[in-house]
């Protein structure tokens, strides 16, 4: 089956309007700061709250520092302050606090940081409405919700069937109460495992680098309508395996809500916890005639569309220049040696054609082929017996080539992230991003530093195997919302990617060990004087 059909993945609207953030909500509020000032002095308190100095009560504060325009440079290192770091840890738990880290106060979850455990807990409380896709009314299948116009197509298909057959099939689109808990359990496990534990943070400030944050994502879900404190309400339509909302022209989508952390909405199909069945953007097949490595017009058009879809914006800061593999196949007729040679010739033909594709300006539509495209000529390995047309093909496979799991993508929106896919021949988003557009979490991404103090390049729209594009991979930029939340609730701005370092020697109590975190070998650098 050709995977290169046109389809339009879901996306969520993002409010472009920048609203002021709530008043400084860091846990060291004015009263606590005053007490600290009195006990250890203004300068030390200032350093301990992130070197920001003290603000007047009610002054809006950005959650994360925004680098100046141009190439970001590492921030100057503040003076060492082991005592300040220890005070920060001794404060105990920061939060829990609801945050809306996305642009325009989108996204919404609860953040809590325990410095002793070195753990950031991201908790999203979710109400799940289990909704039948169609119901029976007088024996007739009827779509129930005006917001899902495509389900009228489903109802029509069912109504064309004899009544008994219709009655037998309709149960596939209706929930049984016994299915609720298993679905919720699968959701919570999926989102926790895919979004949690991917990256760690530490404080990139001298003598604070031993303070770390492992990210733990908790989804707490219940049945029924939204209750007070729920961050998200999911309407979950029932579908059998192999179908989803896109099958009938509808779409999975997340509504960002207003400015509150507790007003988001999401529409899912029950099958959105599994790889999407309707399309795989990351695997595109080119077919050949028997014994031939010559591309026909359809093959050339597909390669042209692929090149324009996946070129990306490789010169843009933050671009994740993708790589792809030409998985070349042959049918099982003929000799093994001949089929191996034929499959390699097919890969060569696709590679050569990729080099011929031009963009609208006449420039190569796909660049750096030598470094971005590799071959995997497989001969007739895995082919069905005989001369089967679907075996005479080359698959252009991006990354691992896995189908996207839509629920994981949609929860990225619920955390505050934008879409990263771009409107191109194979991925259509009529009024969405163009290739190379800076997406809404670009600013939060460039605010992040790596372990060396270099700011990340940002986040741009391009079709890749990223989770917020058309794949499944969670990258560093996708932790920008957690980074922002961490800065907000702790009042410390210098959280950087990477595991915590070893604590300087001669210091007092260390935080509890964090599972999976191994301090770097060798003695820590000596702590400079105050």
């Amino acid at each position: 089956v050709s995977e290169h059909e046109y389809a339009r993945p879901e996306r969520a609207p993002v409010d472009e309007g920048e609203r002021p953030r709530p008043a400084d909500t860091m846990p060291w509020g004015p009263a606590a700061l005053l007490a600290l000032q009195q006990s250890i002095g203004n300068a030390r308190v200032s350093r301990a709250v992130g070197g920001r100095g003290l603000r007047r009560q009610g002054t809006p504060a950005p959650a994360t520092p925004v680098p100046a325009t141009g190439t970001p440079t590492p921030a100057p290192m503040p003076a060492g302050d082991l005592a300040g770091a220890q005070t920060f840890v001794d404060h105990g738990v920061y939060g829990p606090q609801d945050v809306t880290p996305g642009q325009g106060n989108t996204g919404g979850f609860e953040a809590k940081y325990d410095p002793r455990a070195g753990q950031l807990d991201v908790t999203m409380r979710v109400a799940v409405n289990f909704k039948d896709s169609v119901t029976l009314s007088g024996g007739r299948a009827v779509a129930t919700d005006t917001s899902q116009a495509g389900l009228v197509t489903l109802a029509t298909r069912l109504n064309r069937l004899p009544r008994a057959r219709r009655a037998a099939l309709i149960g596939r689109y209706q929930w049984s109460p016994t299915e609720f808990q298993p679905w919720r359990d699968k959701l919570t496990g999926l989102i926790s495992s895919k979004w949690g534990g991917q990256f760690e943070f530490h404080v990139r400030r001298q003598d604070w680098e031993w303070i770390g944050a492992h990210v733990n994502v908790n989804i707490v879900a219940h049945d029924g309508a939204r209750q007070g404190g729920d961050h998200l309400e999911v309407t979950n339509y029932k579908f059998p395996t192999g179908e989803n909302l896109y099958t009938f022209g509808d779409f999975s989508v997340t509504g960002p809500g207003g400015s509150s952390a507790t007003d988001q909405t999401m529409t899912l199909a029950s099958t959105d916890l599994d790889p999407r069945p309707d399309v795989n953007f990351l695997r595109t097949s080119i077919f050949f005639a028997t014994g031939s490595a010559t591309l026909d017009a359809t093959g050339k058009q597909t390669i042209s569309d692929w090149a324009k879809t996946f070129q990306g914006a490789p010169t843009a800061a933050g671009s994740r220049k993708l790589t792809a593999t030409l998985e070349a196949h042959a049918s099982s007729i003929g000799t093994a040696e001949g089929n191996q040679q034929l499959s390699q010739q097919r890969a060569d033909a696709v590679r050569a054609e990729l080099g011929n594709v031009k963009d609208s300006t006449g420039s190569p539509a796909f660049t750096d082929i030598a470094t971005r495209i590799s071959d995997d000529a497989q001969g007739a390995a895995g082919a069905a017996p005989g001369n089967v047309a679907s075996d005479r093909r080359v698959d252009i496979t991006v990354g691992a080539g896995d189908r996207q799991v839509l629920a994981v993508h949609e929860f990225g929106h619920a955390f505050g992230l934008d879409d990263e896919y771009a409107n191109t021949p194979l991925v259509s988003s009529p009024s969405g991003h163009a290739v190379g557009d800076r997406v809404s979490h670009d600013t939060a991404t460039t605010a992040m530093e790596d372990d060396s103090g270099q700011h990340l390049g940002g986040a741009v729209a391009e079709n890749t195997d990223n989770i917020m594009s058309v794949g499944n991979v969670v990258h560093e930029q996708h932790y920008s919302m957690f980074h922002s939340a961490l800065a907000t609730i702790t009042g410390v701005a210098e959280w950087a990617l990477g595991p915590p370092h070893a604590k300087p020697s001669g210091s007092t109590p260390t935080p509890a060990p964090v599972p999976g975190v191994t301090p770097p070998p060798g003695p820590p650098p000596p702590a400079p004087g105050p």
Partner: protein, 122 residues
């Protein structure tokens, strides 16, 4: 949103940022069509008979009695905006619904229209 001449009903569900649209329409000749978010063309679902079409017209008129408002909104930031265009005795009525608002007259119309056609399979 613009209904084409000769349309009795148009319902569009629009995802504002991406521009994805899933839609339904009933044309004056009785053709009931859908257009999916991942399809370029309208797809005919079925065709109402002249008698069924009269029932459709009656349902549209009753949905607008009392008259519908131009705009309904429940809360900001919901995912989908609905746009309805109905041909009624008082002319073309355009309604925009956002924020997940439910309009009982239109919810009822949506259900009722799906029960008008005889598929010959019951």
């Amino acid at each position: 949103v613009t209904a084409e001449i000769g349309e009795l009903l148009l319902l569009e569900n629009v995802e504002p940022r991406s521009g994805m649209v899933s839609a339904l329409r009933i044309r004056a000749d009785g053709t009931f069509e859908s257009k999916g978010a991942n399809r370029e063309d309208w797809e005919e679902l079925y065709r109402f008979t002249p008698q069924e079409l009269e029932e459709v017209r009656t349902a549209l008129a009753e949905a607008d009695d009392p008259p519908l408002s131009l705009r309904y909104e429940a809360r900001p930031g919901a995912a989908v905006t609905q746009r309805w265009v109905l041909e009624t005795p008082r002319g073309e009525v355009r309604v925009q619904i956002s924020g997940g608002a439910k309009v009982p007259a239109l919810e009822h119309l949506f259900q009722r229209l799906q029960l008008v056609h005889d598929f010959g399979t019951d």
